[in-house]
Symmetry: C2
Subunit: 296 residues, 2 copies
């Protein structure tokens, strides 16, 4: 490796960047909490080392010369890399360590989060994650989880919520089963079998809204566990609601009654205590999930 081209003082380069951005030595000094004479000297030193005039001293303030403007883009690149460096370093920090508990639905834990664990390990090796798999709307207030993924926006004012995506759910079934109703409307099918989520009438209400009043006896099975639901659906013989991106992983699953039903739109919300959001470790997990979880 050849080091001679990186021998200049990198802090001077940083000073150059900030001064160029802020427009004056004084402003830059304020922005990065260092004195104006120091910045002035750093700029001068850089200029004399490079033998390039970076700024035009024109009365009040400094303006970039043509050369300075051209060089600016490279210190910008340096700063971008420095930024990433610092960000990643935060994740690697020994200080940011401990346990963080996150709450996910079965489908999200299985399909979305599981593939991310090695990435997370790299991102924050000192944080141990506890994953609470549940479809219940677990109470963040009771600290059952530090961060949770929800499909309804919580209303409590002491929670931080961030919409990280949205998805569509649809009535799916095994293709061998669905083809019996091809081109039929739900009203024309009397013996349609469904897998219910729980004993609430939410699913029935939705079907009724769509003009298909389902009877209780059509719910072959009631099961809260989405993964088990999915497995049963794959056996054929019944339909259930499933997010599109999950169904897409199984070629044998096809949507039923595409003509008659409109998809259910689900917004994904990442939720966290307002106070916990100031904790570095929780903040880190929150940011990681918000950036990586919505990838299909």
């Amino acid at each position: 490796m050849d080091w001679k081209h990186i021998q200049f003082d990198w802090n001077h380069a940083r000073a150059f960047l900030v001064v160029a951005d802020e427009g004056s030595l004084s402003a830059a000094g304020r922005a990065m909490a260092i004195s104006q004479p120091t910045l002035g000297r750093q700029i001068t030193a850089l200029e004399s080392q490079l033998k390039v005039t970076l700024f035009e001293r024109v009365g009040k303030g400094l303006t970039l010369t043509q050369s300075g403007l051209r060089l600016y883009e490279y210190v910008k690149k340096m700063a971008d890399a420095a930024n990433e460096f610092s960000l990643v370093a935060q994740g690697q920090s020994n200080e940011v360590s401990g346990d963080v508990c996150i709450s996910l639905t079965e489908l999200d834990a299985y399909f979305r989060f599981a593939p991310l664990i090695s990435k997370f390990k790299e991102y924050a090796p000192n944080i141990r994650l506890e994953v609470q798999v549940s479809n219940d709307i677990s109470d963040l207030k009771r600290r059952e989880a530090d961060v949770a993924l929800r499909y309804q926006r919580p209303t409590q004012p002491d929670l931080i919520t961030k919409k990280i995506g949205s998805e569509h759910a649809y009535l799916y079934g095994h293709q061998d089963y669905v083809k019996h109703f091809a081109n039929k409307k739900p009203q024309d099918v009397s013996n349609l079998q469904l897998i219910g989520f729980d004993h609430s009438d939410q699913m029935k209400h939705y079907l009724m809204e769509m003009g298909f009043p389902a009877r209780d006896d059509q719910f072959t099975v009631i099961c809260k566990n989405q993964l088990v639901q999915l497995q049963m659906m794959l056996q054929g013989g019944a339909l259930a609601f499933l997010p599109d991106h999950i169904a897409a992983r199984f070629p044998e699953l096809v949507p039923a009654f595409v003509e008659s039903f409109k998809p259910i739109e689900l917004d994904m919300w990442l939720v966290c205590h307002r106070e916990l959001h100031t904790s570095r470790k929780v903040r880190l997990v929150f940011d990681f999930l918000s950036e990586n979880l919505n990838i299909k």
Copy 2:
């Protein structure tokens, strides 16, 4: 702009890079001409600021930790940007100024170099270029030019030569003229008109090699100026040799006797005095041309 993530000491980041690359504090110290204790302190300072252990102190030498390895790629990015910064700064330097004379053929000056002038102005605003347009093999020894583009490799040992590309030349003509000989062999055409380069027999020799002995009376015009040759060719009525990339700019020009002739392969050599190559300004021009001139 938010500066808080670039507040760490950038020189420490540089120290980190070099130590990681060289494998030990002492080696890094030697490489960048600073003492081993200084480097040790810089690394320690960086580690304690980031709260990340970058190196494992294992007996002789240091090895990167997992975190250090991950962070390394970002300081590498910083260093790459720093490198570019330094390189561009050299071009902008007030020190690198003065006149540099380059020698190019008419075609290269017209088609290749002319589009580069604004880029060169940005690259080295303090250098004034003198462009010597000539097809003569001007003598670099007599300092008629500092840098020259040649199509034959000079043999003098005191010249620096660098192959910067290669191109194919072919017998071209206006499509209206060439179509008369479509699917014919050169031997079957008796009244073929050619544009000659000079009174030497080089072109005749080449044609003879290809099995087409050209007669003197077939050379309608002899003209050393390639641009004028080109213009005459565009009028139709005669064929001439032309590099492919030039011909490609004129849709009306098509190659003649594609079946019978094989293309002439021309290597492009950038040439410079060995001693001049140490001059910053000449070096800069040489590097600029070697990077930008071969673009078609």
